[in-house]
Symmetry: C2
Subunit: 332 residues, 2 copies
DNA sequence: AAAGAAAATGGCAGCGCTGCCATTATTGGC
DNA sequence: GCCAATAATGGCAGCGCTGCCATTTTCTTT
């Protein structure tokens, strides 16, 4: 079933065609070591003529140095991860690194299996979401000797490199903002927290902050499955059915919050006078709604960029806090 | 700058530790060829004990068979491509294939450079968006001997495999739908068409259909840059400033259409009685707005799945039309 | 012009696996 | 029990490159 490549041109053939040694071709192509201009031209001409494409597999094996960077991400549906990939891939491409990825569906067991599969490619670095990994994953990563980058979460202990911001702080500041605005009967609509541990951290810090200000969370509605606009809408509908007199609702992210917002629009619930809405992520779409969404803008693309930069420069272990920005908006 | 791996356990060491030959270890690990249960246990014990992780780089080189699949995609911001990747990666992971990707930013020159870089990894297949590639890209891909999959566009000639649907048909049916609903003064709001050639194909088929029914496009507003909700909002605002009596607007995609929708909400423009809105893509969010968006739902995830399936089964060259679904919605 | 330094270049042993072939242990049939 | 199958297994030559070292060529310098 696997695909076999047709006989391709090898470096040795280029060397022969150019009338030089193999190492010379290798030096010219990598622009490394010394060679004369004349030789370079002959080699490049042969490369062109034969349509030679270097074999990175062989090169990587021979040099035992890798320019692969592996991403093990929970999801591609949650815009967060494509954004991180986008930032990272731009930097990696500039530096002639290659990104490989696989998707865990927020399943730690799958994460372990996929991380193992990735390590088989001997990547220069493995990038993962957050700090929650199985013991097996951690052991494996540690033993691999490759760089480990944990993304989008700083509430925990880094294995090696970590880039992102504190979800707990985000949750706390969201609560503080709502309290400052005078809301006291605050509810929560969220998605599966066991899987999305970062949303869980925001939520628990949010609740603690409310509690510390004598305005404990009034009610919550947690929906199974991934976050979505429809789940946000549905969640708010259910929550309001139980507690019609809430004055603010915190959503697990902007997708959910937009669902809540649409629900209010459809039911004629005045925002924010009758009900305030607060999200998380700072999606662009939240800037274009009739009332801009009150939310927290997270540095998703920058997280990818910085993470990639640290890897290509082989920086020492460190934690980089990129912070976030609270957007007041008009819904809270 | 490149990363060097620390001395890792090799297959030979496992063989020694298990007291068997190298080929036996290889057979056991790949579950290929024959070996006794006793031997398998000894090998697996040694693997476990030493923490051996097979080196796929070496394996791929030795077998000259690859389980890498390369994606060269225009963007990660446009949800279309993460969706395709999502579908594909699920199937690839099941079959122990590995996805690698890079992002062209809709730049054909960059596509060529990145395709060349990908071929250096000797992938089993290269997946690209659409049919518009430079001559150099085509020549290179053809010469590589690896499978080529062109995605999300069937209006042209396939190099090898093609999976998706016809954008021209989508444009035509969108126009037909609006005409059938009785709209006659129809405008268009779109993003950069030179780069997103698939949006361009939809638009031209849309216009042709209108023309064929004596209701030529009334006006258009094309915004530079990528599609976004904000650009859709802005585009509609500008269009209506010029032509306040339009009765319907076709948007280049749902992001843009949602921007238009929000603009109407904000300005109190009644939908669809005063102005109809039609999008493209069938995003989930369009189902949760107070009025569901009228649009075309495209099989993005399925496109990825089918493409991956064709590759892992090494299917003969073919074109697979997955079609699309027109969603009537409530905005047109 | 000779000597020494620097620049160019070629040769070849691996990198860690897989595929092929040869060899050895088992098994079943009569 | 003897022989032919069949199952298990080991050995080793590559896969296509890079890194190191030896060698040759070219340049400086006095």
């Amino acid at each position: 079933m696997e695909f076999k490549h047709q006989a391709t041109v090898t470096l040795a053939e280029v060397a022969e065609a150019a009338g030089v040694g193999e190492s010379t071709v290798s030096r010219v192509l990598r622009n490394h070591g010394s060679f004369s201009g004349k030789t370079r031209d002959r080699v490049m001409a042969a490369v062109e003529r034969l349509g030679y494409v270097p074999n990175r597999i062989a090169g990587t094996l021979a040099s035992t140095a890798s320019r692969l960077v592996a991403f093990v991400i929970p999801s591609l549906s949650n815009i967060v991860f494509p954004d991180v990939l986008r930032g990272a891939s731009a930097v990696l491409e500039e530096n002639r690194y290659q990104a490989v990825f696989s998707v865990t569906d927020y399943d730690p067991g799958k994460e372990e299996a996929l991380a193992a599969a990735m390590l088989a490619w001997r990547p220069a670095a493995v990038m993962l979401a957050g700090y929650e990994h199985t013991e097996g994953t951690v052991k494996m990563l540690r033993a691999s000797g490759c760089r480990i980058v944990e993304l989008l979460d700083l509430d925990g202990d880094a294995l090696d490199l970590a880039v992102g911001f504190s979800n707990r702080t985000a949750g706390r500041e969201s609560a503080a903002f709502l309290l400052k605005r005078g809301y006291r009967r605050i509810g929560y609509v969220g998605h599966d927290l066991d899987r999305d541990t970062r949303a869980g951290k925001r939520f628990s810090a949010f609740c603690e902050t409310l509690g510390a200000h004598d305005a404990p969370l009034a009610d919550r509605e947690i929906l199974a499955g991934a976050s979505s606009v429809e789940n946000g809408r549905l969640g708010l509908e259910r929550l309001l059915a139980r507690m019609p007199d809430l004055d603010a609702v915190y959503f697990s992210n902007d997708d959910m919050a937009l669902g809540g917002y649409f629900h209010c629009l459809a039911r004629g619930i005045a925002i924010p006078s009758q009900l305030a809405i607060f999200g998380y992520n700072g999606l662009d779409i939240g800037r274009a709604t009739p009332q801009p969404l009150s939310t927290i803008r997270t540095p998703r693309v920058a997280t990818g960029q910085v993470a990639a930069q640290l890897v290509v420069t082989n920086s020492p272990p460190q934690v980089v806090d990129l912070g976030f920005e609270l957007i007041e908006g008009a819904t809270a």
